[in-house]
Amino acid sequence: MAKFIALRFLQGLLVLLAIYAITFFLVAATPGSPFSSERAIPPHILAQIEAFYGYDKPVLERFWTSLTNTLSGEFGPSAVYANRSVTDIIAESFPVSLKLGSISLLAALLIGIPTGIVAAVRRNTWLDYVPMSVSMAGICLPTFVMGPLLALVFGLILRLLPVSGWYGPEYIILPAATLSLYYAAYFARLTRGGMLEMLNQDFVRTARAKGVPEWTIVWKHCLKGGLIPAITFLGPALAGIISGSFVVETIFQIPGLGQWFVKAALNRDDFLILGLTVLFAALIVVMNLLADIAHVALNPRLKYE
């Protein structure tokens, strides 16, 4: 197992390096610059600004500096927001996204997985049809429809919950609901699929023939295997959900990481783009590794190799 993890870790590092290089050169090749502004900047001033941020150097040299800085844990300054470093921005906004994301994901799992199990066990009854139709709607309704809808109903009409901001516990409810409904729907469908596959296995028939009680079959024999699809999805879902959802953060004015992804790209804030991309990629790599480990632990047919 240690060998497996070490190998995957090295693979992950290579992936990160490749992503870093690709992002860097794509950004460098994009037209526009972080310093272009609506009011023209005299060329000699532009040159000063560029020199300050190291843009006067050839692109390969910039890549090398940027890479070595990143390896030593320093993402550099934001090229657009004065006296803020990329590390500051991440340190400030990541905890917000992490909080919102983990609460949403927890809620999604708590709703999605039991629903999926029940739907699979009671397949082709109303316990299957109703939740599955609702979940299809949950997947199809994008967050930018669901969010304003919830804000409208609970914020403007019922006046129960705040519509935007991030100040106290009650501010988490609407955005978390928006995010978790979507993921819950996914988890429900994945769990139902996984459980159905398990319930149709030969060993289940054997167990039933031997008179094993149904709940033992579901609980003991099928659940582990049935959760595999959901767990596979959990890795990227976790990375995505905790690194911030741009749409939900924008709708509810939440000071998380997601907003920065888009702001960085629109502002051409090169250092911030790189920093965020690396962070996101690293999260995905780690989460996938964890998901793989969980996979092997749950599925006796898989081995570390």
């Binding site: 900047i41 000063q48 935007s164």
Partner: protein, 555 residues
Amino acid sequence: MRVGTLATAIKAFAAQFSSSFLSVAIVAICFTVVACGTREREVDIAAKNGILLMGNGAEPKALDPHLVTGVPENRIISSLMEGLISYHPSNDLEPEPGVAERWEHNADFTVWRFQLRENARWSNGEPVTAGDFVYSWQRILSPALGAEYASMLYVIRNAEAFHQGQINDFSQVGVRALNPRTLEVTLAGPTPYFLNMLKHYSFFPVNPRVVERFGGMTNRQNSWSTAENYVGNGPFRLTQWTTNQVIKVAKSPTYWDAARVRLNEIHFFPIENVRTEETAFLAGRLHLTSTVSPDRIPTFQRENAEQLKIDPYLGLYFFRINVTREPFNDPRVREALNLAIDRRMLVERVTQGGQAPASGIVPPGLQNYPASQQVQFNLQRARQLLAEAGFPGGRGFPRKEILINTSEAHRKIAEAIQAMWRENLGIDVGIYNQEWKVYLDSQSQLNYDLSRAGWIADYAYPMTFLEIFTTGNGNNDTGWSNAQYDALIQQARTASTEPQRMQLMQQAERLLLTELPVIPIYWYTRIYLKDPRVQGWNPTLLDNRPYKYVSISSG
């Protein structure tokens, strides 16, 4: 039997998760009940406490007056800092004493002397001195700082040479502290509107001691302007800056005119999404929005007539024409395109925000400068000119494109004009959008045919609109160059009397509107939602709101 076992299975599950599930549910219910019971709207609570809640549009890029260029930054900085001249509560053309309590100038407006008030204080208690202004202006003019707005100070003698690195000795630049309370400024030429320029944040002072302590004069990453270190001299002081969430300022006890300041606090909310901002306003969380979405204006006019505000704004929406490309190098083609736009219909049907159809370049409202009426809607003449240029009925006109930056509002306007040209002239143009930074690049490299643009006045004087079209001006971006125009602008700058200057600028504008390297479309308005309890929020040409005159009634 199977139902029974299922129930057991669910029970087992419930047991597994019950503790966490239950707690989440209870917490959720608690919040709902609490929220229900005490839901007094934020705007009401804030009004009682004298706190103004403002949508700010965007997170400020910085709060250092020498490093910013945008409106969201200006809104906050103008509460924290004050220049020699301050904003007048209702008339942007009037100079209002700021740090300077008196001033005088020589006969031809080239030498100005400002008497600083004795009780002008920084928020750390230090007096604001003439030396602070000298330091500040040296700072923004230092090439190493790379201040985007440094060219505003080029009115000062030798400021341009210093900024360009031609002289290194700042004492040759026309600003001197005669004593701690007297500042003398020598200008490059006669500038009667200098007082109007002084209201701009590029002329604001910074505290030299603080700037030196946190990184030095020319360090762009100087941390003096963070929430912890900020020292200002304005009516408010910075108390909290939470990125993407809120910036709070509170009444400053050290401000010289603190007795006049009525608000206790202002909270600026950097809400970028217009819909979110509108929702926040309607849900009682904001007293003011920074803007409204254009397509909701009719709805608000119907349902929130008391809250919807439409103020004139000193800005021009226009199309740039790349005159270096065929067939736009022919002035007749440019004139034909210009004559074939029905601007009244455009503002009434498309933009719908009370904008005025532009009949010239410089918007109305400026002293002694009536707006030009030269721009007309005249189809017959347009078609005739197009035919003379070799494209009768639009035949043979090459396919050209309108460049816009990505935005629904700009697309709608471009589509309306596209339709007008197709219908009126038989010309088919395309529309394509680029992201903001790419669009700026394309425009400055003349990599476009036609491009939408906007220009908001930096100060209340016609020159702010006219000078950008001189040869070599970094904001010209049309490839147009006209020696006569350049000469007129130069003469206007150095004209000895005000009527002469006005006349020269009008001549220049006439020439510009004959040559038409740009097609004026409409003059801006500022559209926003405002809680009726907010008092003293007067419409001003440049949208400067001196917060010290603003108050909020609790009723």
